[in-house]
Symmetry: C2
Subunit: 182 residues, 2 copies
Amino acid sequence: MLTRFKHCPNCGAAVVYEVPADDNRERAVCHACETIHYQNPINVVGTLPVWEEDGRVLLCRRAILPRHGLWTLPAGFLELGETAAQGALRETHEEAGAQIELQPLYSLLNVVKVGQIHLFYRARLLSTHFEPGPESLEARLFTEAEIPWDEIAFKTTRETLARYFEDRRAGRPFEMFSADIA
Amino acid sequence: MLTRFKHCPNCGAAVVYEVPADDNRERAVCHACETIHYQNPINVVGTLPVWEEDGRVLLCRRAILPRHGLWTLPAGFLELGETAAQGALRETHEEAGAQIELQPLYSLLNVVKVGQIHLFYRARLLSTHFEPGPESLEARLFTEAEIPWDEIAFKTTRETLARYFEDRRAGRPFEMFSADIA
């Protein structure tokens, strides 16, 4: 969740929230150095890695807050200096130590309440050897029947997994989908 | 382009850029109030509005900097409190005063150099009556032959338009595509 600014990141003076001229929403405005500070939604990028030999899906169990101990698809905040695909690949390496081949974008999920967009790419696992990083307690493969639906950390992971298995059962091509998370 | 923080938006003290414990890249760290400030890529959302009766495409001529006087698809920064689709719809109203029906996401363009992802939705124009807002000098329809390729404001508009006409000439379905902008 984004935190409101109290001080100007440029000069340190106190900011006020007001609607600048030629604008239509409140921004953090600094009247000391005359700058306007914008805050915008940011992106979480991740993958849905599948071991094609038997159709199992990779999940990581979180070693950090929030949702410590619950399961998630490998994902994290997109960083400056990388593309969405590069970020998704990096997070999969960092959280699961998994080797993957990235496939097309699969889900775009708006999490308006916390100012985030989550983007998940499908991915083909190149091996079943994982090395969970410090943010994961474990990384393992699940068949559809084994998915711990009651212990999934985030709605965006749940939505992406649910749609994936639905598409697969229906024998549909995996078309990108969008959804809004309440 | 994102500006580096000089002061802490929480307490106003000077920040230092360093790699926090358990992290692997530099962040703006405040040692006065012990907070870490993250900066991440943000999103630009827009539309490619088409008048289906004759296949013409809507462009807006910019009344603001940067690229004053050049042509662009209607687009702007995604705001807190809205989904990507809502933001694309809003920008189309604000910049062109155009009535549209939103269609699926068409392009995801990484503009790593400035820390942005641009998302364009295809859209069906519901009328040819436009009311350009204060950020546009004019809004008008172009056939493919009329597109002012030398006066396009942004590479992401150019890339999205070029792919659209390519798909259309080839009679291909309009599948979402990703590209990285140098």
